[in-house]
């Protein structure tokens, strides 16, 4: 949710016990290793839950049974050796083959065993075949359909989240310095606008900049036909990126700035900051070394939470902007009622979330002195 309030408590970092090795690198590596392990367990459980939800209506089984039936029927019909058989004999043969194939794949096993098979397939991204949808290269493999869309999604999410993060932290710092000024008050006044999700701003942006002024494209990744020159192509993609990225940024920036500004203000009344100011240190140094540095772990934790809530929002943002990413694929899959693609996207999203958390955990390990020095405490 966009209105996630700031958690002022640092998350419970796993205790990096004092080991024989004193080097910072070893500690960070150990911390990261532990995090990767826990994250793998977490993802496994998360994917298993996803499978349970999807399978409650027996959908997973239907997908696989249909696939088996299709494959066998097609191969039997295509085989000239069986062409001269009487229809009922051939039908019987097909049924027998299907039954044995179902047995071979373990579909007749109890659910507990079967779900483990699904889990293994899902974790190795063996996501089955789509019912109706095909990838741009003509494949029906769900994995290919989804992975082909990943770069576009990463481009949009990466750009907008990085801009959002740096812009809001630095604007918040400068506002906390000019506390009570016009811009400060304006940010407070605007922060309720973050109640609306990015796609909502997207509609307005399309309407204003594409519909009325016609200066930016309505949507898509590149013009059609796309420019052949790589530089022109890049510029064209950038031009298409402006609207969706600014919709994402616009929907969260005021609340982020407000939250971080408040956070910095609380921190800048700490004794050691007052002390640094009294010593006559330049404002810049006070901000960098006395406010930003100790609050960095918390900032990163909150950024992680923001990124996680934003992942959700991208599905619809991409749909509104016709951005050819994962989100619009999921949207189309809903339209086609393409079960394997929907389940597959859910699993891919779970992976993406886990990777996001892991990446930010790694950055956290780099900036949190408790991990580096190794005198950490779990609270």
């Amino acid at each position: 949710m966009a209105t996630e309030t700031l958690t002022t408590s640092a998350p419970s970092a796993p205790v990096a016990k004092k080991s024989a090795s004193n080097s910072t690198f070893a500690r960070v590596a150990k911390y990261t290793g532990i995090r990767i392990l826990t994250m793998m367990v977490t993802v496994t459980i998360g994917v298993y839950l996803t499978i349970m939800i999807a399978n409650m209506g027996g959908y997973m089984d239907t997908i696989i049974r249909n696939e088996v039936r299709d494959n066998i029927t097609q191969s039997m019909l295509a085989n000239p050796a069986f062409r001269n058989l009487a229809p009922d004999v051939r039908e019987k043969l097909i049924q027998e083959k299907i039954a044995s194939e179902i047995k071979r794949q373990g579909l007749d096993q109890p659910f507990a065993v079967r779900s483990m098979n699904y889990l293994r397939n899902a974790l190795t991204l063996n996501l089955g075949r789509a019912v109706n949808m095909i990838s741009d290269h003509g494949s029906k493999e769900v994995r290919l359909i989804l992975l082909e869309r990943l770069p576009a999604t990463l481009l949009l999410t990466g750009t907008s989240e990085l801009i959002l993060f740096f812009a809001s932290v630095f604007i918040a710092l400068s506002l906390s310095r000019r506390y009570g000024s016009f811009f400060d008050k304006m940010t407070i006044a605007f922060s309720p606008t973050s109640a609306a999700p990015p796609w909502f701003y997207g509609i307005f942006f399309i309407l204003i900049f594409a519909g009325v002024f016609r200066i930016l494209p309505f949507g898509g990744l590149v013009d059609s036909p796309s420019p052949t020159n790589p530089i022109d192509y890049g510029l064209n993609v950038l031009k298409h990126l402006i609207l969706p990225a600014s919709a994402v940024i616009c929907s969260s920036i005021f609340l982020s700035i407000y939250n971080w500004r408040t956070f910095f203000l609380i921190y800048s009344s700490e004794d050691y900051v007052e002390m640094a100011k009294a010593k006559g240190l330049p404002q810049r140094d006070v901000e960098r070394r006395y406010i930003l540095r100790p609050t960095m772990p918390t900032i990163i934790t909150n950024f992680a939470l923001l990124v996680i809530t934003l992942w959700t929002g991208f599905t619809i943002t991409e749909t509104v902007f016709l951005w050819p990413g994962l989100g619009i694929t999921l949207y189309r899959a809903i339209g086609f009622n393409d079960t394997p693609v929907i389940v597959g996207s859910t699993i891919i999203y779970a992976y993406l979330l886990a990777i996001t958390v892991l990446l930010l955990d790694f950055v956290y390990a780099l900036v949190d002195p408790r991990v580096k020095v190794g005198s950490g405490n779990s609270q």
Partner: protein, 447 residues
């Protein structure tokens, strides 16, 4: 109670709280009005009734108040009926069997554009011999245009624009333009003044009778306009208000209260309970919320109440639990808890009567601030095509508008009306939440 009063008085010091409260009260008023004036079954009938219910409305019509702001006045929609006397009807019997029915309707037309469509719905009464009508059109500048001569079957309608014979005789594919625009003027301008429609019918049986409904589809309609199915958008705007408020309030209440209770239980019992709750929170963090909602919506049911339940379930173990946990850890050590433990209060009593009530000041701002995101979530689901299949909601209107390309076609009123209401709701609760946060959160008070 006094503390509550004081907090309320303090709250009113913030202009944003007053604006927020005002918006919320207006929305509540609209919600109550909608529920009282439009019963549930009537709302569903008007929203999903089909062409029989919507035929009187024009398609893609802008709201009527657009005319106040534009120099080019668009025609309003109206209807007249011989059955209720809003259209004159005179019956003269010439012989025992044959009689003539003359139906006329005159109206002043002062708009700058021609209408969308004119339709006549005939409801004749006869046994075997079909009545016969000839339709004529009189313009203010004295021209008489013969529209058609037709036999009227049971439940038949006549659409002016779709009569190819008429198109041919007018030498114009656009019948409405030919009927309303001066053919001799250099720039095609609409002739203003009194138009008259004369339908002269003949019936061939003794008890035969003929009634007609004259439906005039202008280019503007009602307070909110219409969509592509001719539905009045005012209905989902009105009826969507109680649904949006109920969804937002219930989801926010369920999520924040349950989160708080779970955090309290976890910190109180500590040990494996706490550990389990923390692990669940971490797993929940990697569960893609919207994707799972989509899965549930596609596989099971799109009912808004199921969505509400799943939303609450998936939002309980959010990052918020960590914030509450940190605060509960502090208040767990407080001396009044120790006192309660000393006199032998049960665990349940301590959690629900001592730990949680102290946290309510923190709960309220978080609750109010989280309402907008849930209101928007309902709209988001609808935009994904997972809106409730039956209920008229704001999100459904936006979804219809986007799927129909309203933005690209310049039908801005269509998505913007529900969007404005969503924004208003979001802003109202967010502004109140901000003020509440400042009142109840002492750390923010000076900032």
């Amino acid at each position: 109670m006094i503390a509550f009063k004081n907090s309320f008085r303090e709250l009113l010091r913030y202009p944003s709280a007053i604006v927020g409260l005002l918006v919320i009260f207006i929305l509540l008023g609209v919600a109550v009005y909608a529920l009282v004036t439009i019963p549930y079954s009537e709302a569903i009938r008007l929203w999903r009734g089909g062409e029989d219910v919507w035929y009187q409305n024009p398609k893609y019509a802008s709201p009527e108040w657009f005319n106040f702001f534009t120099s080019k006045k668009e025609p309003l929609s109206f209807l007249a009926n011989t059955a209720d006397g809003s259209m004159t009807k005179t019956v003269t019997s010439s012989t025992a069997d044959i009689s003539t029915v003359e139906m006329t309707y005159s109206f002043d037309y002062t708009y700058d554009d021609y209408p969308q469509e004119i339709i006549l719905y005939f409801s004749p009464k006869f046994n075997e011999k079909l009545p016969f009508v000839s339709i004529a059109w009189y313009t203010p500048d004295g021209r008489k245009i013969r529209i058609a001569d037709i036999a009227v079957d049971r439940k038949s309608s006549y659409r002016f624009s779709q009569d190819q014979k008429l198109q041919k005789s007018l030498r114009n594919e656009d019948v409405m333009q030919a009927l309303f625009v001066d053919p001799h003027a250099e720039n095609p301008t609409v002739v203003k003044g009194q138009y008259k429609l004369v339908i002269s019918g003949t019936t061939f049986e003794k008890d035969s009778d003929l009634d007609v409904q004259f439906v005039f589809h202008g280019k503007v309609y009602g307070l909110a306009g219409t969509d592509k199915y001719r539905r009045d958008i005012l209905l989902p705007l009105l009826y969507g208000t109680p649904i949006a408020l109920a969804f937002g309030l219930l989801a926010a209440l369920g999520t924040s209260v349950l989160t708080m209770i779970i955090a309290a239980i976890g910190t109180w019992y500590a040990g494996w309970v706490d550990e389990l709750i923390q692990r669940i929170t971490e797993i929940n963090l990697v569960l893609p919320f919207l994707a799972i909602l989509i899965m549930v919506g596609t596989f099971y049911s799109r009912s808004i109440w199921l969505m509400l339940g799943v939303t609450i379930l998936l939002s309980i173990f959010s990052g918020q639990i960590k914030t509450y946990r940190a605060i509960f850890l502090q208040s767990k050590e407080a001396s009044y808890i120790e006192a309660a433990r000393a006199y032998g209060a049960s665990d349940r009593r301590i959690i629900f009567s001592y730990l949680i009530p102290r946290m309510i000041p923190l709960l309220i701002p978080a609750l109010v601030s989280s309402i907008p995101s849930f209101v928007f979530l309902e709209a988001s689901l609808a935009v994904l095509g997972l809106g409730d299949p039956v209920l008229p909601t704001w999100g459904k209107v936006i979804d219809d508008a986007i799927t129909d390309g309203a933005i690209y076609r310049g039908l801005y009123y269509w998505p913007l009306e529900p969007a404005a209401l969503l924004m208003l709701t979001g802003l109202g609760f967010a502004m109140l939440g901000f003020a509440l946060d400042r009142v109840f959160n002492p750390r923010l008070r000076d900032i």
